[in-house]
Assembly symmetry: none
Homo-oligomer: 355 residues x 2
């Protein structure tokens, strides 16, 4: 177990780190330039305010990429015995800036938890945000992650999986699996801005999935894309080459070979998506069942009361309300061992189970 951890920046990631460490009984010291965010995070149970004389063993800087190097440098100076890490989505740029600032990088080791949500801020924080997620430790020439065992402990304590990677490999990897998908999604969503509402009413899950991350914070993403421009650009250029071929094939869909070329691109997409590990990103710990509920007041409360009376704990609940439909769908997540009995008992009580 690690000693006191100082978390600088109490947004989504900082607050989640605080909540996760506090749940393991670890002392967490919180700091934030915004007194409002700081007091929310403290009230939320993510840690305590900083005190004079604090001697943190580890400092985790959870601030936007643009100011990461500046804050890391300040923390390295203020706490000369501490190891300092950060959680920014790019790793080469902050390291280069730290070196340019003449910071003591022998105590800095960059890291990046691959976890996030669309919503930001302390109230979006969750102790289990990092559970089962990769957490890259991007050691540079001046330090190895074995020198910084506190980071190892941090990652294990939060239930994440440590992945060692050079800063270069990290930045290339996230360009592919995170930054380019963000651009692709954004550009798709851009096409919706002046579309007729009647067209958008036909949207299904496919469009929603493709454009979901386009709702992310533009300010943060300007920083990320600016700091990782070269690898992102390289992949986008390759993407555009494929797109050019697609557009060309559609110009004369009946021309010889046009169908084959489209089919090859589609099959290539199949092959690419099949390489992604773990088919579903859904929470593996729970299974869900969907119950149809009439669109009248009190129905959900009645359902939850009956589930509670059966002694089953609802881990997560999501209500789908389709415009125009008489029915809502309540998707209820429960522990796997409860689902069969719950399904039977609810059906016996007249609830319609959709699947």
């Amino acid at each position: 177990m690690i000693g006191p951890v100082r978390v600088v920046g109490t947004g989504l990631l900082g607050t989640s780190i605080g909540l996760g460490l506090r749940a393991r009984g670890i002392e967490v010291i919180l700091a934030d330039a915004s007194p409002t965010n700081l007091s929310i995070a403290i009230d939320y149970g993510a840690g305590r305010a900083a005190l004079t004389g604090d001697r943190p063993q580890l400092i985790v800087v959870c601030v936007p990429p643009d100011v990461t190097a500046e804050i890391v440098a300040r923390e390295l100076e203020s706490f000369p015995d501490a190891i300092v890490t950060d959680v920014a989505s790019v790793k080469l740029a902050p390291l280069a800036e730290l070196r340019a600032r003449g910071a003591d990088v022998s105590r800095y080791i960059g890291s990046h938890p691959l976890a996030g949500r669309e919503r930001g801020g302390p109230l979006a924080g969750r102790a289990d945000l990092f559970l089962g997620r990769p957490w890259v430790v991007a050691a540079h020439d001046g330090i190895s992650y074995q020198q910084a065992t506190a980071i190892d402990d941090l990652i294990l304590d939060l239930g994440a999986t440590l992945v060692e990677m050079s800063p270069e490999d990290h930045d290339r990897s996230v360009a592919l699996v995170s930054h380019v998908p963000q651009v692709v999604s954004t550009l798709m969503a851009r096409r919706l801005t002046d579309a007729p509402a009647a067209s958008l009413n036909l949207a299904g899950q496919g469009l929603r999935d493709v454009t979901r991350v386009a709702a992310s914070d533009p300010e943060l993403w300007v920083q990320i894309l600016g700091a990782n421009a070269a690898p992102v650009r390289e992949i986008l250029v390759a993407y555009r080459d494929d797109l050019d071929r697609f557009i060309e094939a559609l110009a004369e869909p009946a021309a010889p070979g046009a169908r084959r070329r489209v089919a090859e691109e589609l099959a290539g997409g199949n092959a690419g998506v099949s390489r992604l590990p773990g088919k579903h990103g859904h929470d593996r710990r729970f299974v869900s069942l969907t119950v149809m509920v009439d669109d009248t007041p009190g129905q959900i409360a009645r359902l939850l009361n009956e589930i509670g009376a059966l002694g089953v704990n609802v881990e997560d609940l999501r209500l789908e309300h389709s415009p125009g439909a008489e029915l809502g769908l309540a998707e209820i997540s429960v522990l796997p061992e409860a689902v069969t009995r719950l399904t039977e008992e609810l059906a016996a009580r007249g609830w319609r189970i959709a699947g």
Copy 2:
């Protein structure tokens, strides 16, 4: 209620239509070129085999787009009293081909249920597949949907929402909300085919969402994209223009104006995705408030009971449950006119409102 319905093609859509109609007690006659698929669909409860002398009132052709017109023409000829519809994802191409074949289009009215799953085949069929989903009826000059009341009944019986649209508007709309997202997703997934496994291990929900539809059946999509090539191509060209600007801005991310251009694209993406109706947390018809709830059984039910007692209908509810935190967050969507009173009344009853 409609009379006997003949469903031709017992894949996902045909079987789901059969199951949904059977659940309403409507007689369903099934036909399929594949005896295997047909017998699976019959065993599954989607309907009965065709008999000599069947007099269906309505025929629903659920075959791949490439052969839709051929089968519709055959059905129009075989059953001279029946109204014939189809469910293909494109509407202009089949109509043009039917006219070219000299078919009696005064009894044909194209339609398209906006529903589907990644999995195909009769065993993927679900009686509730169309529940709350839009179902476009694309009347042509020779027929209005009021002439074809059986189609109205079909759509209502399956719980879908009837949307009237010209074949042209339909094809342009689905190019935007379905066909272009398919291409965008496919091209992103293509980039994964030769990526290092270590990079793919960092993939999160964002990449999974963007590439989910890339797993769709290439054969079906070659047909769809070929049949709707012009509108799809037009949108892809506009998409490529934006992509070009993005790539240019990333070539010199520190150049004057580069950041602003990237920020504008990202904000445009925000604006586009916010226009999607019925999206969780973004539904413009409702506003949401977040209530903190203790992590004890029965709290949500108590909250919903009190909201119900206030006469307020919960349109949508999402429960955030963070194992490490002492609190859950219930995000409740209500009609805008109810939110002020509800916030006050809940606060007066001791609930903590988070925002």
